[in-house]
Chain length 287, copies 6
């Protein structure tokens, strides 16, 4: 369908109230899944984020990097052990994780944002002392799988105040300079809380939380924190949605106004979430 | 035609390169004609200007007010004399001009911009010593029809730096505190030069400069300053277009990058001019 | 009497303690009455206000405009109805009020201040969303006679921080973009409270509050808020003094340190009030 | 003569154009002579300087201290030798000079200004590296009588930008930490040039430059630099006026707009010079 | 002993953690005793203080000046009376005190700091209204021996924010412009409290507080406020140490983190105190 | 040898003049060679750089990463072809280069600096559009071996103004988002020129330029640009020294005051170079 110039102008004007509402707001975006691996989707995410910056928001990107890490571990013939379903991260694995996340994935996102007209700067949780980490399992059985101990968002503040889009690899460091591999959703939530962000958007490969997981029309648009225990007990929040929802709950109870589980497979899903009234996933609110 | 959410997102993203190009730029808009009198068009202009502000431009509005002035003069039974086609502005007329422009038209535009989500402030050339004027005809035959002697844009700088959209009534003042009625096109051009604006947009009730005035398909999209004398001699620039083009020439030779004569009768014509590649009038360039 | 240079110097030096005390203070001045209509008095008020600005105070002017409005309504043969002694402001009347206040009276004051060496900027309550209004009488019998709902003083802050003297026409606006005509004393008091002003000065055509209204030597120099009910009951505060005193009480209970009812018919009465110990009216204090 | 309140107000208003003209201007005042020794005059000078600060000027005070130095030298029985009419400053003398100027005279002026409502800070040319000096006579015959080699006005800038009135003792220092006693007029002129001051005022005990030194009515109100050689040759500029005029010439040729030789014996002479049209001495201009 | 370049580098690096800890901290130093009278020691103190400034601390110097005052009083044959062991400061004595402290000692320290590469500015408690004083003995028996009534540290803030090292003569002033001679330790403590300093260092001519005053190896490194009464009762804190300790107690109970009584006879004792772990005196802490 | 506290203090004070000279200066350090691979040396470099930051300099680190890249290429069995002695960088190689430099080496340096007390942020030439690159060999025979086309130092400015130490991986990007591997010496020189740095330090594994390459006592301490052609012709500048010297020449002719080829195998060689007079390599000057 070809739009006339006038129709285009009308669309721009329709966005005005949303632009106004979000002016100067901080939005942390966990970027991953299909939106990161499919070229077309990826380009659209880049455009969405740069547009957010130009219309006055402060997007902050936290990325994962699963498939690339697995690929590189395979090429290097590094075996992966699993304990309780979690990949054990030994020293060799950690080295690869860090190279792939910080040296490859992070910089590809930076290039993509810059090519779309933004000014992005890629850092990891080590830079500027951003993320202090500790092992998830103090016994050491999981190796260097970490969790966020504290966030010092000063470097992010410096970057956003100077017009940059921060892109963050989810790596932390402890006092002995040991690196930790941290789940990107958790890093995004911690940074959103630490930055007093207005919004946290988790891009996923599902439509959101479904009442019936096999019926995509059963989307739960709004999920209250108070409903979570019941939904978990009832099996509606299950599997991979459990940690996602947990992240959102942590964020909203930590002061983030709204958090969203959004389907990254929908083109421009971030923009749709922010600039239109049409639901594109599940919003978790602190009620 | 109903657009899908995706189509809307695509349109927003299409605007990104234009948003980027105009970020932080100053655009002086002469607002008048049908775009000011027809309610629907008026609302669209307000939206366009507020959108410009939110995506990082600095719009500055200069308005005329012809019909309202004529109406009020009629209601007050003040006769209008004409000399060489110019309305003689005596003391009584000037009082009405000032009340209508500064008290009615100016504040209506301010309200409209504020209602559309902007923060507008209406001033006249008297405020902050913005426009020092002198009579067009020193003999006094035209009364208080003035021209711009100097522009002191400090108050406009203060307003735009603090997030406001300045709306300016085309009235000047001389050292004896005498007010003058000045053509709004000329005021817009002078302010554009004084502000080192990047763009001057004159909203008119014609499609632009036409090769054949009866053929709207004969639009001259780009007019070089060097072509003007020939076009005037050839009668292509004639009648009311002569002062319009003269304004544009003054502006571009005074340092404004581009000036545009745009058809205000086209909905969202300002937005189209700025955010699309499609020609919506005549651009005058300094070549 | 001709003063010697030395005597002049002595006077300047005498003012020093007052200049020091008021350095950086905000003073809202309700300007109206004889001080606005008599040419000589008017010029002196302009000088007083500009001087205040130069010696480090922040004067903010709110003006009325009664006689000019009445005159213009007469010229336009618009009849005025009265309900309970208040002029009903219908749509036609409101249009005239706005034109006269915003386009004529406001700009005359601006010109006068600028001619006296100041940098004044005239706005109305519509500009920058300064005054949100609502009808005094919700039944609508009084038409568009309004009262202040909220004050957003951001535009005044911007202007005074940048060296300007704000001059404000007492017009408000509601969410439907309807204009309201508001009593200037009330606007001055609301702005004084909203700006956390140190002083509110109401220029009137009486010497202040008199114990005996026929004896100008019976001036009550200091009126405590606690005394007001008794004085009203006793008929000492009566007639036009009731709303004036009410304004002052609102201001001082709202946080303005001192409010003054000053005789605008006395030349330089503002300056006398601020720079000398000699009483020039009635001061209302929150005791 | 007792002035009425109105007369006082008129005087304040009369000062307005002068206040406006000098707003933000830097005025270096060489303070000495009778204005420093007579209590009444001294108090008036203090008031004048504080008033200048409050109405927006930046006064900078440089003081001498002759009689106090002589007195202390006498009390300490330190003999004074003279070479070519200049007091030889040996090490013992220099110590006394510095104590008296920096510890006594300087702080008395500071106290006086503070008591008059100012915020004064007293420094010498040693503080903040303000004045680098060298001996007037390289042969050493005059001891530590110095002249200004360079001025680094950074400390003065810091003080005036933060609301202080700098009070400067005319002492310099060389690279070997040797102190020098420098003529206060010369220091004032050097600082005025170094600060790009608008005005230099030298307070003296004469009415200004007189055509006939015995006829105080023969005051030369304006002295052009081009006239100086002729007046020196003609003996009109003679004796103590030679170095005074030389200072003024250095200042105006160095970029100070105007310099004044003013009679410090006239009460409020500084204020008269700045705030009135009446001549109170000789102005030297660069013509 | 000649150090190799490498050894020097190692020392610099050893200081790094201390530099980091004290970055941006305010340190008030009471300067006096042998460290002020012996040339070699004096030079080292100057270097220490300038180094502190360059590595990011904000040193603030308060000095005494006993011997110079005594010397000058002797040269002027001014007799000194004592009451209860305190020198009575009559008007003549006060004049000398002020000249010597403000004009001689203060400026010598300034010169020394500047010659060592700093930017020092010398002021007294009169400058900028720094110290308001009152007589220690209201009966007047001690004359103008004063104590600190209030400290207004604004001038010190201005100086340190602009890169200067303030050097302060311990003189205060009352509302009648009367100067007072105040004990320098007390001034240092009051300023440390008023500035919310992190550290107060009192340079003395003793090794610190000794358990046995005749055994320099019996140094009490840390003295808790709670121990003071017992130590006074036990005679361990005795004589001149009583006021010293009292100063320290006032400072730490007033909010200064740490105070130190340091042996100024040890070369570079300030630097040692700050940059090494080795004890160089007694630290008083608020426990 | 154990140094006494006093000796340590003396060393700190000795550094004062150097600290003063370099206050606020920008120093670009090319970090590589033994100083990066040997643990002890590495820790000392980190300390040196952090110390520079704390004493007021702005160190900017550019690093190479040769051995790690070779190691990873080996582990991934990626063959390396050489053309004219330069490693051909194909797409696979480039991916590894970027991962190793940006994800591993860069972050290790960041961690080291942070552990030493600094606030470091690691970026590559892609971040913030820092380095725009083009192929060294347009024919493409060398693959993605690049050279600097332009430097946009804005991100570095942002970082150093906010207290960070930038650590830069020598990777550039062209308009098609293609990454290039660039020689770190060249990147350091380009950034030094682009930042108007005061000093460029190249850490190498040689003592500097030797007159006789087998005699380490034949060090050429100062090399003038004008001497370079002769020395190249004479074989004194040969082999790996040719590109090093070329970098230095580019930097000094581009406006960098001084450049140094320093022996990174000497502990604390950077500190020695900056804080002592002892020669630790070859300085290239623009003469």
């Amino acid at each position: 369908m070809i739009l006339s110039a006038l129709e285009k102008a009308e669309v721009l004007v329709e966005a005005l109230p949303y632009i106004k509402d979000f002016y100067g707001k901080r939005v942390v975006i966990k970027y991953g899944g299909a939106a990161m691996t499919e070229c077309e989707l990826k380009m659209k995410v880049m455009q969405d984020i740069v547009l957010m910056k130009y219309v006055g928001m402060h997007p902050i990107v936290v990325h994962g990097g699963g498939p690339d890490i697995t690929g590189m571990l395979g090429r290097l013939s590094i075996d992966t052990k699993f304990v309780n379903g979690l990949r054990v991260t030994d020293r060799d694995t950690m080295e690869v994780v860090e190279m792939v996340l910080g040296g490859k994935v992070n910089k590809e996102i930076v290039s993509g944002l810059n090519a779309s007209g933004g000014k992005a700067v890629g850092i990891s949780g080590k830079d500027g002392g951003l993320i202090k980490a500790r092992p998830v399992d103090p016994s050491g059985k999981l190796g260097f799988v970490g969790e966020v101990e504290t966030v010092n968002p000063q470097i992010i503040e410096t970057l956003i105040e100077n017009g940059y889009i921060p892109v963050i690899a989810p790596i932390g460091i402890d006092d002995e300079q040991q690196s930790y591999n941290i789940n990107a959703d958790l890093v995004a939530a911690s940074i959103a809380v630490g930055m007093k962000a207005d919004k946290l958007v988790l891009l996923t490969d599902v439509p959101g939380l479904l009442q019936d997981k096999d019926d995509s029309s059963s989307l739960i648009s709004i999920l209250k924190v108070s409903q979570v225990p019941g939904y978990v007990a009832g099996g509606i929040i299950a599997g991979g949605m459990i940690p996602k929802v947990k992240c959102c709950v942590e964020a909203v109870t930590g002061g983030v106004s709204r958090t969203h589980i959004v389907d990254g497979r929908v083109p421009h899903s971030i923009l749709l979430e922010i600039f239109t009234n049409e639901g594109v996933g599940t919003m978790v609110v602190n009620e």
